[in-house]
C-alpha cells in the first residue's frame, strides 16, 4: 500500500525532514512538500544585510532545488488542515489527503498587530531586519544615519532567534564606530524582558556587553503603540521611548492556516506539540518541527536541525506501529555576533542554562562558550556553507549531537 507524507513548508525544517525521510523510506512512500513561494532565505544572513555585510541576493536560493529527487514540490497556499479527515485544503479548493502530516511552516511576522507600527514612518524611519525587503531598506537608511536616537525593540516574545536583536545592537555599535559617528548616536535596546536575555547566566554576560559598548538598556517595556510621526514608542503602562530610527522585531505568530485549522494551534497559532516526541496534540499522525511549534525552546535553525533526528525516527515508529521515542531535549546552539569580528556561542536545552565551557567537546572545544572570540565569528560565517550543503540535505554535523552534552563542572541543571 502506498503511503503519502505531506510536509507543509520548505524552509529549514521542511527541507531537512523531506530529505531525511526520502533516504529513510522506499518508493512506496510518496513525499509531497508544499510551500507558497520558491524563495528559501538563509535567515541567519538577514542580520548582516543592514550593515552591508551580506548581499540580499546571496542569501536566497530556490526552495525546490534544495529537495532531493523523488520529492514532489508544489507551490500552493494552504487554507486549512482538517486533522479529523487527514486532509489539507489548499486555497482555491483543492484537497490533498495524507497518511502523515508534518507542519513546518515557521513563524509569521505580525507587525499590524501593534497599533501604529505599520502606519506613518513604516519603511521610512521604522524597519525590521527579520524580513529581506525591510532589511535591505534598513541598509539604505543606516548608510545615511549619522546622528540621533537609534532604538532596537522586540515587541514581545516569542521571536525567532531571540539573540538576534542583541546582535543587531552590537553590530550597530561597530558599524557606527567604523563610520566615526558613534558619539552622535544614542543607541538603546528596549525589551519586554526583565533583563538583556531570557536565560539568567547568559543575560548577565550580555547585559555586561551592552554596558561595555555604551548601549542603554530599557527593560520590562511592553510596547503598546508605535507613534511613527512623533517618533515615540509607548508602552501599555504609558512609558515612552523617543526614536529617530526604530528597528522593530514585530510580534510573531504561527502560520495563518494553523489558526484556521480546528484544534491544531494554541492561541498564538503555533502548533501544540509534545515537548519530547514532536507529535502534535491534535492528532497522532500530525507532527511539527521548527518555529511553527509552541515548544518552550528557542525558535532557531539549530533547534530545528536537532529536532530532525527525533522527528524522522518517530515518523518511522508511528508508521510501524511502535511507541514514539521521547528524545528531543530542547537543545539550542546559537552564535551571537558581537561586532569587531568576534562572536560568542551559547548552548542550552529545556533544563540546562547556557553555561561557560567549550563546544562541541566539553573541555577541548575548540569553540569557547559564553566568551567573545574570533574563532566563534569565523564559525558563524562558515555556517552558511554548512547550512546549504550539510544541514538542509539532512546530514549530521560531525561532532555535534542532537542532545545537549554537559559536564558536572559546568553546573547543575536548573
Amino acid at each position: 500500500m502506498s503511503d503519502r507524507i505531506v510536509i507543509l513548508g520548505a524552509g529549514t525544517g521542511g527541507t531537512l525532514t523531506a530529505n531525511r525521510l526520502r533516504r529513510a523510506h522506499d518508493d512506496d512512500v510518496e513525499i509531497v512538500v508544499i510551500d507558497r513561494d520558491d524563495r528559501h532565505v538563509y535567515q541567519p544572513g538577514l542580520l548582516f544585510v543592514p550593515f552591508g555585510l551580506a548581499d540580499p541576493g546571496e542569501i536566497v536560493r530556490a526552495r525546490g532545488a534544495q529537495l532531493h529527487d523523488g520529492i514532489e514540490f508544489r507551490l500552493a497556499e494552504v487554507d486549512r488542515v482538517e486533522t479529523a479527515a487527514n486532509a489539507v485544503h489548499l486555497v482555491g479548493g483543492e484537497l490533498i489527503t495524507y497518511d502523515v502530516l508534518v507542519v513546518a511552516s515557521g513563524a509569521a511576522l505580525l507587525p499590524e498587530e501593534t497599533e501604529g507600527l505599520t502606519g506613518p514612518g513604516w519603511g521610512e524611519r521604522i524597519f525590521t531586519f527579520f524580513e529581506l525587503e525591510s532589511a535591505t531598506a534598513l541598509r539604505d537608511a543606516l548608510r545615511g544615519f549619522d546622528r540621533g536616537r537609534l532604538v532596537i525593540n522586540p515587541v514581545d516574545m516569542p521571536i525567532k532567534c531571540p539573540v538576534a536583536p542583541l546582535e543587531f545592537c552590537f553590530l550597530a555599535d561597530w558599524f557606527l564606530r567604523e563610520r566615526g559617528v558613534r558619539d552622535a548616536v544614542e543607541l538603546t535596546y528596549v525589551t519586554p524582558l526583565d533583563g538583556a536575555f531570557t536565560k539568567p547566566v547568559a543575560s548577565e554576560h550580555l547585559a555586561g556587553l551592552l554596558a561595555e559598548k555604551d548601549i542603554a538598556l530599557e527593560t520590562e517595556f511592553a510596547t503598546g503603540e508605535v507613534d511613527g510621526a512623533g517618533g515615540r514608542l509607548v508602552s501599555w503602562d504609558e512609558r515612552e521611548v523617543p526614536f529617530d530610527l526604530l528597528v522593530t522585531i514585530p510580534l510573531h505568530g504561527g502560520p495563518a492556516y494553523v489558526g484556521r485549522s480546528p484544534g491544531l494551534g494554541d492561541e498564538l497559532g503555533f502548533v501544540a506539540t509534545d515537548l519530547h516526541t514532536l507529535q502534535s496534540k491534535a492528532a497522532p499522525n500530525v507532527f511539527a518541527i521548527g518555529d511553527a511549534t509552541n515548544l518552550p525552546t528557542s525558535k532557531a535553525g539549530s533547534v530545528t536541525h536537532f529536532e530532525g533526528d527525533t522527528l524522522v525516527e518517530n515518523i518511522r515508529r508511528f508508521r510501524d506501529g511502535e511507541e514514539l521515542q521521547a528524545t528531543f531535549d530542547g537543545h539550542a546552539n546559537c552564535f551571537i555576533e558581537t561586532g569587531f569580528h568576534k562572536a560568542l556561542l551559547i548552548d542550552f536545552n529545556y533544563d540546562v542554562e547556557p553555561l561557560p565551557g567549550r563546544f562541541p567537546e566539553p573541555h577541548l572545544g575548540p569553540l569557547p562558550l559564553l566568551k567573545e572570540s574570533r574563532l566563534n565569528h569565523m564559525a558563524k560565517l562558515l555556517f552558511q556553507w554548512v547550512y546549504w550543503h550539510v544541514l538542509l540535505p539532512g546530514h549530521d554535523i560531525p561532532g555535534v549531537g542532537s542532545q545537549l552534552r554537559h559536564t558536572a563542572d559546568q553546573g547543575e541543571p536548573r
Partner: protein
C-alpha cells in the same frame, strides 16, 4: 524558599512570592496576596483574569503570556495593565497562586 502564613495555612513560595505548589492556593488567599501587592479590592474583572490564569496553568503547565491573556481572557491588554499594574502576566500569576511564568526563550 520561604514559608508564609496565609490565613493560617503554610504555603511554599519562591523568593519573589510566587506559589511553588498551586494546589496549596485557595480563593480566600487571593485578596490577601493582592493587597500585599497594592491591589485592592479584587473586582469581578480581576477574578476573570485570575480564573483564566489558573485554568490555563492547570491545562498546559505554564501561565499564559500577556498576549495570550489579551487574546483569550476576555480582558483587553490596556485594561490588564489597569487591573494588574506594571506586569499583568506576572502579578496575576502571583495572585492566582501559580508559579512565575517562565517567560519565553
Amino acid at each position: 524558599m520561604t514559608s508564609l502564613t496565609l490565613e493560617e495555612a503554610h504555603v511554599d513560595l519562591d523568593a519573589e512570592g510566587f506559589f511553588l505548589q498551586p494546589e496549596q492556593w485557595t480563593r480566600e488567599m487571593a485578596p490577601e496576596i493582592a493587597r500585599a501587592n497594592g491591589i485592592e479590592p479584587l473586582t469581578d474583572r480581576h477574578w476573570q483574569v485570575i480564573d483564566y490564569m489558573r485554568s490555563t496553568y492547570l491545562e498546559t503547565g505554564s501561565g499564559p503570556t500577556i498576549r495570550a491573556l489579551g487574546k483569550a481572557s476576555g480582558v483587553p491588554i490596556k485594561e490588564l495593565y489597569q487591573l494588574f499594574p506594571k506586569g499583568p502576566a506576572k502579578l496575576a500569576a502571583k495572585v492566582a497562586g501559580i508559579p512565575k511564568p517562565r517567560g519565553c526563550i
